[in-house]
């Protein structure tokens, strides 16, 4: 995105999730009357909106949450879908773009830290499949880890896709173009695309230096109950 290479421009693509399945990551974090409901899942934006309320009702019933949650959940999903749809129809930046994805998440007792590169324009990519293989290769047994990893990837991809739309609009307005990082206060610097020429040029090898292997090696830790409690308390404090 910093150095648009004219020779590698493809036709602009309309905005969508840069994966094979166009699923939007939805994150819910709702607190009513001392009940706190946190969840993360993906949603197919082409599903009819009536599904949202059905889903909300069902969730509240299954989790035995107080009834006011229904509207809150539905609203939250709706607003996130609306945000997604507001970008639909716009052109995405279509140059070649490989971005680093960083994972740092905790699911129940499993702590996952990892980083790898993701091609934003590879519409064959499948975060769910990637997460499944990740869990299989790392021997993770907790069934909740896989979806969480996939979701984390999707969230980051979504963020960067939004940036792409904005930067594509920007570059149309002014040749100068602004840094994508300005638009993403949440991105923690993870959204800067890698320098393709540097990494994939004739002079460099795509095989990493041996000392870098450890940096890109996934780390999976199983935490004890005490550690989980400490982390949860910390997160709780940050939330308030």
């Amino acid at each position: 995105m910093k150095t648009p290479l004219s020779g590698f421009y493809r036709n602009p693509v309309k905005f969508r999730m840069p994966t094979s399945e166009n699923l939007v990551p939805i994150r819910l974090d709702i607190e009513i009357d001392g009940h706190r409901y946190k969840d993360a899942f993906t949603w197919n934006p082409s599903d009819p909106d009536s599904e949202v309320v059905v889903f909300a009702k069902r969730t509240v019933k299954d989790l035995k949450l107080p009834p006011p949650f229904v509207t809150q959940i539905a609203q939250s999903i709706q607003s996130q879908l609306a945000e997604f749809r507001s970008y639909e129809g716009q052109d995405m930046y279509a140059g070649e773009k490989i971005i680093p994805i960083k994972l740092d998440l905790r699911v129940n007792h499993t702590l996952v830290k990892d980083q790898f590169l993701w091609d934003l324009n590879n519409f064959d990519s499948d975060p769910e499949e990637f997460a499944r293989i990740f869990c299989r290769d790392m021997g993770i047994e907790d069934p909740e880890v896989g979806p969480a990893v996939a979701f984390a990837i999707r969230e980051q991809l979504y963020e960067i896709a939004i940036q792409s739309v904005v930067s594509a609009r920007e570059s149309r307005l002014s040749k100068k173009g602004r840094r994508g990082a300005d638009f993403t206060p949440i991105s923690k610097g993870g959204a800067v695309a890698v320098d393709l020429v540097k990494l994939f040029g004739i002079k460099s090898s795509v095989v990493r230096k041996r000392k870098e292997w450890d940096v890109y090696e996934p780390i999976v830790d199983l935490l004890s109950n005490e550690e989980v409690d400490v982390l949860e308390a910390k997160e709780e404090r940050n939330f308030r």
Binding site: F8, L117, D119, C135, R136, V197, L199, V206
Partner: protein
């Protein structure tokens, strides 16, 4: 059979040039693969890398991915390589990396002979195994292709890579990529023996050598004993290295005293060669074994040792060896009848195999079962050859010997010069009007003993034996064929007879049917006349129910 002193335990580390002889099995369907090129199959699977529109997707980058993944797997072929391991070392889109990984895995270029080790991928592994089994059914020897790459189990591959990557920072190039080709190592040991020189004193290391694990420095036994380990080596870094053929040659010089000690210790310890070697001291295990079996009464001694139950060996190899020994000694006691000759043929098969594979024993599980160690030959190979030769006519044996030698000469230039000499000797020996071919064989062997390396002689002898066996087999096959023809003819006759019987039966049935049919016709006629009669009577009686008439008519 374990331990660093055993030359058979890891033939892959004979010397550095041998690292190219490390054999890998890949499925026959992946025969298209070469290190140097990108095949059409790959191009169709990864179109986007070959249309030249992308900077992160070029053929060069694809090749680097591919070569790295395959090399990574071959560092330890028995272990299953996972995608997560690979991606940490490669720069690029993980989706595509996974695609490459799956592609290589599905073609069996990686994880083909890996045993199950992972946790989650049981289904895939089972699938993999199924595929292997199918391949075997298709015909393993022609289908499985052997390829050469750096030794997997060698500890030196890793540090070497590390150091080179530190220097150049480009592992993909630092890793050695020998051409992927099947390798016939028939004369490898012969040539190698001429090449191996001591790294210290430049002398020929004819009587075995020591090789450093660290830098492949080869020093001769003399230097090793004197403590000359090169600039930075230590004693622990060196591994004794003695090919069977070298030791066989070296075994030729046995003093009488040594032989006596050997015999004594064999009587005492049976076939526990470790103990025997400890008593003999001056010779290696293989030397002792080959010497003992060369002795005219060697197998008798071994046989008695077995019967006494002295051997405390526990490995299956030795057990099978016992069986072979006992059966072969039984065989020697009986006359050389034709019935036993077949058994003898079968027996000689693994021996010949072990001779051929002895210098390039592959540790891969696919091959292991087929390779019997050299020490299996409990009785002299020459005797086996002689026995085999007696099975057929003398002239057939002679022709087989000729063919074997000429084939050996065709294969390689090296033995041609050597055999020019032997040709004369052999023909000279063949002219002898000797009924006992064993004697001819032996005299040939003794005559040519001076000029020709033992390996070549053994190979020539094996060729002869095989030829003789083949001739015998041909005869048997012809006989069998005639038998089969006869049987088939009998079967056909029986079938024809059966068919004829059936036809007859059908004829009878037809006759019956016809009779029945005639009866039916008669019945029909009589019914008709009866009906007409009834009608007439009704009509005559004058009951005027005309309406009924048409119905009655039908």
């Amino acid at each position: 059979m374990e331990g660093p002193k055993d030359p058979n335990s890891n033939p892959g580390r004979v010397d550095d040039s041998d690292s190219e002889l490390e054999l890998y099995t890949i499925p026959s369907s992946s025969r298209w693969f070469t290190w140097d090129e990108i095949h059409e199959t790959e191009k169709t699977a990864f179109k986007e890398y070959f249309d030249g529109t992308s900077i992160s997707r070029t053929p060069k980058i694809y090749k680097e991915y591919r070569d790295f993944i395959i090399n990574k797997y071959r560092e330890e072929p028995s272990r299953r390589l996972t995608f997560t391991e690979v991606r940490k070392s490669l720069v690029g889109d993980v989706t595509f990396l996974y695609k490459v990984f799956v592609f290589l895995e599905s073609w069996g270029l990686i994880n083909y002979s890996a045993d199950s080790g992972g946790d989650g991928g049981e289904a895939e592994k089972e699938h993999e195994e199924e595929r292997c089994m199918v391949k075997v059914e298709e015909g393993a020897p022609s289908g499985v292709r052997v390829v050469a790459t750096p030794n997997s189990l060698k500890p030196l591959s890793l540090p070497r890579n590390a150091s080179s990557s530190g220097n150049s920072g480009r592992i993909g190039i630092a890793i050695k990529m020998p051409p992927l080709a099947s390798y016939s190592d028939v004369y490898g040991d012969l040539i190698r023996r001429k090449e191996v020189n001591c790294g210290n004193c430049d002398d020929k290391c004819g009587s075995g050598n020591y090789r450093s694990i660290k830098d492949n420095l080869i020093i001769c036994t003399k230097c090793f004993k004197n403590g000359n380990y090169g600039e930075k080596g230590t004693m622990e870094d060196f591994i004794l290295n003695e090919s069977s053929e070298i030791s066989a040659k070296h075994g030729a010089v046995w003093t009488e005293g040594e032989t006596l000690i050997l015999l004594e210790s064999v009587l005492k310890h049976g076939d526990d060669w470790e103990l025997v070697v400890q008593s003999v001291q001056t010779k290696t295990k293989l030397d002792c074994i080959s010497k003992l079996i060369e002795l005219p009464f060697g197998e008798l001694m071994l046989g008695s040792a077995h019967r006494n139950g002295n051997s405390n060996s526990v490995t299956g190899i030795v057990n099978s060896k016992k069986q072979i020994q006992s059966s072969s000694s039984d065989h020697l006691e009986t006359s050389k009848t034709q019935e036993t000759s077949t058994a003898q043929d079968q027996l000689s098969e693994p021996k010949i195999e072990s001779e051929q594979n002895g210098d390039a024993v592959n540790e891969s599980p696919l091959k292991r079962q087929r390779v019997a160690p050299l020490s299996d030959s409990s009785c002299s190979l020459m005797k086996q050859v002689g026995l085999l030769s007696t099975v057929v006519d003398p002239h057939i044996t002679a022709a087989a010997a000729d063919a074997a030698i000429s084939a050996l000469c065709d294969e390689n230039l090296l033995p041609r010069d050597i055999f020019d000499v032997e040709e004369d000797n052999a023909s000279g020996a063949r002219t002898l009007d000797d009924e006992d071919l064993e004697m001819v064989e032996r005299s040939t062997q003794s005559e040519v003993k001076d000029g020709i390396p033992l390996t070549l002689r053994i190979r020539a002898a094996i060729g002869t034996a095989l030829g003789a066996t083949a001739a015998r087999a041909k005869l048997l096959a012809d006989q069998e064929e005639k038998e089969i023809e006869h049987l088939v003819a009998t079967i056909i006759e029986a079938q024809i007879e059966k068919l004829q019987q059936k036809v007859k039966h059908f004829d009878e049935l037809e006759l019956l049917m016809e009779k029945e049919h005639a009866e039916m016709e008669e019945l029909k006629d009589s019914i008709l006349t009866e009906r007409i009669d009834v009608m007439r009577r009704t009509f005559k009686s004058g009951i005027a129910r005309w309406k009924d008439y048409p119905c009655a008519k039908s």
